[in-house]
Subunit: 345 residues, 2 copies
DNA sequence: CTGAAAGCGCTAACAT
DNA sequence: ATGTTAGCGCTTTCAG
């Protein structure tokens, strides 16, 4: 049905290799096909609506140019700023002629067939994965990059510089004159390295000023109670994400607590900071898209590196640059000051 | 490196075909391999850590078991309830041993290579696609299902029964005694069949009671102005999605307009209805996950149907059931009544 | 029930 | 510069 290089070769009266070379623009080794032949071949290919068969190519090259996105938690993938990460990832992969497969990890274990069966050349993971998955991937020597997760220092990963972000937020509040400052994480937030890192950064800033850091990991109802009652309530609150900020800000409206007069509020992610909020939210922003695009570059590099490595083992390679070097990248944060923070009244 | 059926065949002293058959549990035509041989083959395969090479299989079967998700607008894919649709889609595809590829459609047109190059067997689309994409897909005879889009009646598609949903929302408000009722769509919402369908359903209900429907497609600022000034302001508002409802509800809090006493509010999607709102939102819900899982079933059916169809053309098929029948599915809605609606005061 | 063999379409090493 | 050829690993007739 679909035209192959053989069909073209026959019509052009040349060999299939010539067709393949011309169509791929292969000029390796100063190669240059005679212009006339090349033109005719291209014309015929065009007329026949030729398209390289990617399945055949993948089979021959032993490489699909596919990257798997491994995840266990559906909600996580599409939550918060992860949509931006995913966008950056997909777009960047496409730039390098790769594509992304969605691979949910179930208990059933049928992901192994897909991941290890050779339908993908490497994988990228969101959130933390079960240890068995990591083991499997490592044993299979599959290139892998962790996104938003630094739980395995052995593997390449990209995370936000959460500590620095929380630190800058705390510094901002302290500079405004706040003394009772807290960090709030909603109780539905699952365990994640970013919680610890943000807490670390926050507490470091507080300690530098001999202040006592408060930390809450509870429901919004409980947090609101704490914020509205008592004289020792915090006057500054840093939220784990803009979602917490939204909940708190609206609750404060309803309880008559003025922001920023009675409470200074800082978010994280710059996700809902201006859309749903009055006043607009001071928040710790970062380039989520970049996490994805960097991830794409790293995984492709890693795949290419491994391929070279494999060729070496078969004695085809030239020399030995360091094999897929493990890397850890931190994406920087930026404090965006808007209307939700002010000196305490 | 990785074991193949030949490696196993050699060790077991049988032919590769036998290995292939045993490992696949192929019992076609009442076939049953001798138990002892089969057991030994399986044992060896296991010991060698054999895994079928999916690239080779795809090449041989001329089918990858991949489905492409085609989209032009990043934001759309991850917006609103579409994350749920995507979840349902991916999970259901996996149940049938298929997988999903993310295929952003750019102007560059490099999506054609991926889609038409045989890396996917069929495609599913979100939102409306450029006409040229649809033309290409149709000409290539690629199986395709439209999700949340009925703009092309020629193609199989699944949509929410938006008209019925809006109708039920309007009926609810009318039954409560409201007379001035409006439908509100935020001005950032891109053109989509659901806007028209919801408007149709809303207006139908209003006409049945000889009431005048109001419709706004504007910024939230403008909508709020309308809601807070004048005596002929609406007492009931149906929002295009829970997002509009959120914006409106919080603005009303800030303007001292009580919900539901002064304004009854209805959302759509049941997305933020209980999380961010006081009172909880009356909303039109539907099973977004189901759109995805139905979509998966339909696209796989369509792919299988086409395969049979192709075999027929080569004279291999048996008989001729209707080829991939085009279908249009509507997912039903359900009005969930919570605290944001009440009789007008 | 089993084995031999053709074929899927492309890449790349080798020969000319 | 071009042609020849040998894979890539699995599926699927077709003989036996």
């Amino acid at each position: 049905m679909a035209a192959t290089i053989y069909d073209i070769a026959k019509q052009a009266g040349v060999s299939s290799s010539t067709v393949a070379r011309v169509l791929r623009g292969d000029t390796k080794g100063g190669r240059r096909d005679s212009a006339e032949r090349a033109a005719r071949i291209r014309e015929i290919a065009n007329r026949l609506g030729y398209r390289p068969n990617l399945r055949a190519r993948a089979f021959s090259e032993q490489r699909t140019k596919g990257v798997g996105l491994l995840y266990t938690d559906d909600a996580w993938v599409f939550e918060g700023v992860n949509d931006k990460v995913l966008q950056g990832l997909v777009r960047e992969l496409r730039k390098f002629d790769h594509h992304l497969l969605l691979v949910p990890i179930d208990d059933g274990g049928d992901w192994e067939e897909l991941v290890l069966g050779g339908h993908i050349d490497g994988s990228v993971t969101f959130q933390f994965l079960p240890a068995c998955v990591r083991t499997t991937i490592r044993e299979a020597q599959m290139p892998c990059v962790l996104l938003g997760d630094n739980s395995d220092p052995e593997l390449a990963h990209i995370v936000v510089d959460d500590a620095a972000g929380a630190y800058s937020a705390a510094r901002h509040l302290i500079a405004l004159g706040h003394r009772r400052i807290g960090l709030y994480v909603h109780d539905t937030v699952k365990p994640h390295c970013s919680i610890r890192d943000r807490r670390d950064g926050f507490e470091a800033a507080m300690r530098e000023h001999a202040l006592t850091p408060c930390f809450w990991h509870c429901s919004d109802g409980e947090m609101v109670s704490t914020l509205v009652r008592g004289d020792d309530r915090p006057t500054g609150l840093i939220c784990y994400s803009d979602l917490e900020s939204t909940l708190i800000m609206h609750a404060m409206w309803q309880h008559g607590v003025k922001i920023p007069a009675d409470l200074s509020l800082i978010g994280f992610n710059d996700k809902f900071a201006t859309k749903h909020m009055t006043p607009h939210l001071t928040t710790v922003a970062f380039d989520a898209n970049r996490i994805g695009s960097l991830g794409a570059q790293m995984i492709i590099e890693s795949i290419d590196g491994q391929e070279r490595h494999d060729q070496q083992r078969h004695g085809v390679g030239q020399q030995g640059p360091a094999s897929a070097e493990k890397r850890a990248v931190k994406v920087s944060t930026q404090l965006i000051i808007r209307g939700s923070t002010a000196p305490p009244s």
